[in-house]
Amino acid sequence: MITQNSNEEPSYLDYKGKYKGIFGWILSTDHKRIGLLYLFSIMSFFVIGATIGLLMKFELIAPGKTIITAQTYNAFFTLHGIIMIFAVVIPGLPAVFGNFLLPIMIGAKDVAFPRLNLLSWYFYVTGVTLVLISQFTGQGPPDTGWTFYAPYSFRTTGNMLPAVFGAFVLGFSSILTGLNFLVTIHRLRAPGMTWLKMPLFPWTLYATGWVQLLATPIIGITLLMIAAERVLHIGFFDPTLGGDPLLYQHLFWTYSHPAVYIMILPAMGAISEIIPTFCHKTIFGYNFIVASSIAIAFVGYFIWGHHMFTSGMSGTALYTFSLLTFIVAIPSAIKVFNWISTMHKASIDLQTPFYWAVGFLFVFMIGGFSGLVLGSLATDIHLHNTHFVVAHFHFIVFGGTGYAFFGAMHYWYPKITGKMYDSRWANIGLIIFFTGFITLYGAMFFLGMKGMPRRYYDYDEIFHTGNIISSLGAMVMYFGLAVIIINLVASLKNGRKAPSDPWGGKTLEWTIPSPPPVENFNEIPVITKGPYNYK
């Protein structure tokens, strides 16, 4: 049976190891401390990226020049995209909550390769540093958008190399994390935890791990080719050297489409943990949720072409990609239906994390449905590269992964910090944030349908109203998020002490003290029952 730790074990926060002070953190191989290192760095970059987003919205509030020049605007959305995608949402849930909780949830003392784990954090920091360096050196910041499309990325005078190399190093970090998790799950599950007794968050990390491992090298080599083409003038994608710019797009999206499932799968995992806990009810259709995670990861590998519908691919390719795009929506549908069914006949404890989960479901559906509109050929021809796409991916990336991230933050906060936060402020912040979110990105759908292209510094007068609404929404949302973050930070000091199981969760992390001791478990638990056993 499960043993409760005695109080003699120091928590991982108080533990005094070989190194003191800051070195106790940046040289620690404890998966929990590494998780917090990631949390801190990711949140910092998120705030930078988000502030740039807000500045872009200020610029777009009126046609013509409002606060920044076109050059700055182009550099801004490039940096915003690179930071948000490569440095925030791709590592996001796996690196923070995966690192912290995966070993605990499967009953292990650490990940399989603790030192590699620390190394991947260093890669992460190096990568982001390179991206930031590209902003201040050379002939001005990169201005290609996060997609680095050829041949523009060879023409621009912007300082591409450090940015490309930074993205490459970030990819390395992502591969190492995925590899580590895969081995951990294969080798270190507690005795008795068969595959189908594993909680759903580890399951999604497992599916994500494969995508990270098998998709990231493709972008790695693509970025290397871009660098080689810029420096050595090897012809790969530049039409003047005989290359094919569309091949670049193929390779880029061969990674970057699976990457969107790297972002969303762990988010779905976190939601699958939150819902049963607050419903006090076992999850509906466990096997189907597991299978759908695998299906998303697998099918998601073959639909990259839906980003290239207007580029002039062959009809056969268009047919295949569009069809498979619709197929990949099915496993997501299965998940949504199972989550909602879990709420049926439950006994729901209405706490902040549950509200985030409900919010997630709502915006994820909007984002997903707008994805269907884009997956259909006739409609994508019109909507491609308009603000409709921008709305789609903010709804599903920020609305999906972002909401799940904040949900997970509120869910595991007591476990990680040992403190409770103030729920009232957390809920107020959520409501303000949600209002701002819907206004900000909702307006973009209509702008896109009217035909406003994306990456536009300046726009036609007919798009003015929509942009005003959208920009106002951004300010509201910014305010809401500030409330949420300030509340969480303030609770570190003022919060009351958290019990080991504040929400009545049943997975392993709730069986050990908050915050967890260094070794997680005194004795490795032996598993006999499924993960969400509320009987």
Partner: protein
Amino acid sequence: MYSTTGIEASNYVSTYNTAFYFIAGVSLLLLFGLTIAMLYFVFRYNKKRNPVATQIEGNTILEITWTIIPVLLALFMFHLGWAGWKPTTKPPKDAMNITVIARMWSFLFVYENGKQSPDLIVPLNTPVKVNLVSLDVIHSLFIPEFRIKSDIVPGRQKFMWFMPEMEGKYKIFCAEYCGLQHSYMHSTVNVMSQEKFKVWFAESAKPIAVAGNAPGAVGEAIMRAQGCFACHTPDGTKLIGPSYLNLFGSQQVVIRDSKEVTVTVDPEYVKRSILDPNADITKGFPSNLMQSYRSTLSDDDILKIIEYLKTLNDK
């Protein structure tokens, strides 16, 4: 609620609408249905109303149902999209041929009789086939009202076609990010009645005949049509290329075969700058940005341009 005007300005609008309304309609229905179900559960089964949860592991029949129904819906959605897209590949045989030359950051439309225009002028109810040519990077020709868009990829033969079904002027945007002035790379499509179009088409092959007779006016009009002002200004502001202000007759340091050379901006040099811009790169400016205008400018045009440049010297 949606779209700018709700008019059917081209042959694609109705198929687009069918696909869009079906997908959006089903989506909204599902969104409302599922959200209401969710909110009802939250209300009905919260801890106060339902203190003890009923444990339900799952239900295979339900799972199968809610897999199959979305599959069928999704396949139908796919079908509508495919059916709406299919016609874009098959231009009618009698379609009128126009070539668009896209470069940073302007469109130039060239007609079969050699006529050039920065705006796309087309006759009503006539199929138009636009051959897509890009001289530098990827651009995209996007006419929102027509619900059509196609990327213009350098080094590839491609076309798009459509049939304008409503007279009027509509916006053209460049929809693929192409650098600094991407958001200023726009134009207009002007759909005329067939009679009016015939008159326009038969007018002098050059569009600039009516520029006026102030010195340099024709040159300026030519340059406007060719999109020179996307990169060069007449007032001394540095954009992407050197400003034209006091350019003619001045001394310039240029880089020729990676050596610095000082040249005088005389007609010969201007001509070379326009026809072979990468031979001499003005110091401090990027190479390979300006592309040759050999295909669209004649010697005579260049003389007119020089005439215009001269007028910018006394300011």
